[in-house]
Amino acid sequence: MPHLVVRVGPDDFDPAAELAALEGLPGGAVASFTGLVRDDGGLQALHLEHYPAMTERQIREVVALAADRWPLLGVTVIHRHGTLGVGTRIVFVGTASSHRTAALEACTFLIDWLKVSAPFWKRTIRHDGSGEWVEAAAGDDDRAARWTRD
């Protein structure tokens, strides 16, 4: 794949710049997903912890699965950790291909699989000082698994 960017760290990113890099490839089709900290009433921030020795390798393995399945020219995956306030960016997935279906499907596949295989854990930080670890959503495993049933 001519363009592969995987970045894990505390720093914010610029989706426009990431998209521009993917648009610079000769494919003609770019899809992306940006995940942000959702304001669910009383939430001040999320704290994301991760397993540094494992995180980037897991992401690269998921990207390799996508590259085996769709004709991709470029993939960008960025995942932040640390304390992230409501409305700030957490994750970015971008894909480039010569076919819109490949770009769109690979983008969905990547975020579905990152959710169940990248070793991150979210803790809520509420305005009243309380907080708890976010439970894994029951539907996440199903969303990832449906890609293996086709």
Binding site: E49, V91, A118, F120, W121, A136
Partner: protein, 86 residues
Amino acid sequence: MAGLTILYFAWVRERIGRDEQQIDHPGAEATIAALLDRLATETPGHAAAFAERDRLRAALDQRFVPLDTPIGEARELALFPPVTGG
């Protein structure tokens, strides 16, 4: 035999009160589950962290594995809740 490093994340880490510990390697045949049974007798924090086995996940040398996996020659065991990234 060399040792085994155990890493704890999220509420597993909080209940145990530390993010890492070194132990003597329990042997290639020992499963993660058997090691958890033993560690759970050592401190109340370990007991609390390992009480709900269906909410625990594990990795050996940075690979996800089921809890009934033998530890084998692995040098690093990580214990954590189901992941919630993305």
